[in-house]
Structures are given as C-alpha cells and as structure tokens.
C-alpha cells in the first residue's frame, strides 16, 4: 500500500541523481502533478475531518482525529518540501548553466542530443512536440534569470563577472612575443 509521501520521495531521489549529472534530466511533469494532487486530497480530508466540529475542535477530547489531522498535515508539508527541493535542485542547475553561458537552445537540445531518458518516469505525458527536458516554466525561469544576471553584471562591466574562476596565469605567451621585439633594450643591463 503506497503511503502519502512515497511519490514525493521519488522526486527527491530523482533530484539526488540530478545533482551528480552534467546535464538536466527530463522534468517529471506527471510525478509533480501527482504529488501536488496528493496535497489537495489531503487538504480535503482535513476539511471533512474537521467539518463535524465546526470551529471548536479539542485535540485532547478527540485524540484519534487529532492524530489523523497531524498525519495529514505532516504529509502535506512533506510533499511541499519534496516538490520545492526538486524544483530548487533544478533551478540551481539551470542557474549554473546560465552562468556558464549556455542559452535556452543549448538547454532544450540537451535531451535529444544527450543520453536520452535516464529513468522510466518520463511517460507519454512528456512527449509533446518539443523534446525539451525543461518544463515551460523552467524555460521562462532561464530567460528571467538570464536577464537578472545580465543586470547584475552590468554593474561590473569592467571585471567580466562570468569570466574565469581560475586565478590568472601570467601573460607569458605575450611576453615571449615581446621578447623578440624588445630584446634590444639592454642599454643599462
């Protein structure tokens, strides 16, 4: 018997794998929908459990109901956490790609060019005409974050914020060229 939270766990396991991948695996549209649906179902259960009590529910007087309510509440929060962490893991990845200068076309093309689906979760629901591994919302996010980063970079145009994070080596190659031209100046040497 699958229990509340099990589907959320699948999302998080997917996120765990995503962390270790260079590319972004397909967005789990169906799984996300199911987990969100579970939250709404639980919320309805809570409402119907509370209905007979009007506004005056006393947990100490009806401990069994209180316990069920607590379980439902925790399950909703658990699902919310799983959904947020799943999406956050992916936006982290997307932001990294934006920092590295990939654009939306690169990202969208990953799935067709890449190793294909990495697990069995992308059922027929994912097979819209475009085979992007990003959800439409994620595509929007990439655009918006790209704009945000560009705006921030604009304050620091001279230092090239997306430049290398490796400390600069000296300009030795240039120097060697210079040596040929500049070896003349030995007047004081």
């Amino acid at each position: 018997m699958p229990m509340y939270g099990d589907l959320g766990n699948k999302l998080v396991q997917n996120a765990k794998r995503t962390q270790n991948l260079a590319h972004l695996p397909p967005y789990q549209t169906e799984l996300v929908r199911s987990v969100a649906r579970e939250v709404r179902d639980l919320d309805r259960d809570v409402a119907s459990l509370l209905e007979p009590f009007q506004e005056s529910f006393d947990p100490a007087a009806d401990q069994a109901t209180a316990c069920t309510l607590l379980v439902n509440h925790m399950s909703m929060r658990r699902n919310k956490r799983c959904l947020l962490a799943y999406h956050r893991t992916r936006t982290d990845k997307l932001e990294e790609l934006v920092w590295n200068g990939s654009d939306l076309l690169d990202l969208a093309g990953q799935q067709t060019g890449g190793a294909g689906p990495t697990n069995g979760m992308n059922g027929p629901t994912d097979s819209s005409s475009s085979s992007s591994s990003l959800s439409p919302q994620e595509e929007d996010y990439v655009r918006q974050y790209g704009d945000l980063l560009a705006a921030y970079k604009g304050h620091w145009t001279d230092i090239d914020l997306t430049g290398s994070l490796e400390p600069p080596r000296d300009l030795f190659i240039d120097v060697r060229v210079l040596k040929d031209a500049g070896e003349i100046q030995t007047e004081y040497g």
Binding site: M1, M3, G5, N9, V12, Q13, A15, K16, Q19, L49, P59, A60, Q63, A64, T65, A66, C67, T68, L70, V71, M74, S75, R78, R81, C82, L84, A85, R88, T89, R169, D170, F172
Partner: protein, 195 residues
Amino acid sequence: MSYYDIDSILTDAEKIPCTFQLDVPELGYLDNSPGQTLKAGARVALPLWLAELLAITSTGSSDDQNKSYVAFDLPHALRNDVVQALKAEPLAVPLRDQSAHFYSLATHMMDLSEEPELSATLRKTFVRRAAEIALHARKLGGGTGKGDEGGSNLGVGGAGEEFLRGLDEWERRLFRKAHDGTRAGKEWMEKIKKN
C-alpha cells in the same frame, strides 16, 4: 538540517519502528489495512518525518500528560549488535548496508532521545574510519609517494574496495573532499613546472 537539502530529505524518509499508543480509525492504511482502525499497540514502521512529530506531540490526555501518539524504537540500522560491532572493529562494518544516511539518521535519533553511549561510539567510529578514508583517498588521488601504490593507480585492493563500498553519505562526501584535496595539490605541482 536544511529544508532544501536533498540528503536531509532522504534521511527523513528512513523508517523508524513505532508503536501506536491509541486507536486511530482513519490510519489503518499505515499498517497496510486501509479502511480499518489502526489499533493501539500496532507496530508500524513510519518514516522519520512522520514518526518524529507523532512521538514528540503530546496527546493532551488528562491522565498522562507525557503520553504521545506513538512510542518509537531505534531504527534497525542502529540496533545494538551493529553498535557493538562498531565498537569492536569500526572498519569492518559496511555502514551503507545499514543505511546510506547512517550518521545523519543517528544524529536525528540522538536528538529525539538521549543516547550518550551511542554518541561516544559513533564519534570514535567516525574518526577512526575517517583516517582510513583519508588513506584510500590519498592512494587514489596520487599522493606524495609514488612508489607505495604498487602498480595500478586504482590499487585499493579487495579489502579497500569493500571498505569504500560500505561508506555512508557523510563518509562518501569526506572521501571526495580528501580525494579532491590530494588531486588538486598534485595538479598544482605539475602545472607549476610547465608554466
């Protein structure tokens, strides 16, 4: 304990043996019997994210203020024979077989109930195994002495491989850090000679 942290969320999914302290008609599904009442005394393995709050929330019962919805035991991964084995020979136990989030799970449990002896044993275990992890990481990362690996760069050998396979998530991260540190040091040394 971070809300968005994937490992923390996965740790919270670990199952804890719990005993219900009251009848709950709606929760039969937790014990594979949907539609039936979950009876007081029923033993159910609940994920930590659920067990934790059920165990610390008071029922508000007038006859027993301390009574909570469930009582819990230490999870299977932390049972006594595992702890005894770790005490005897910390390197011989594949922690990952107990739980991929062994230490993380343990810290949760120790927050829930005081386990001073467990805490002391696990700290010793962790430090002892960390030293071993560093040793393997140096070998794989290409440490200072080149001669002592004996052939293959992956010269961990059977026992070593077995040990590394048994690392839990904390230890894997530690291994990666040690390995990266050694490798970056080596790369720097090689680079400086070229430039």
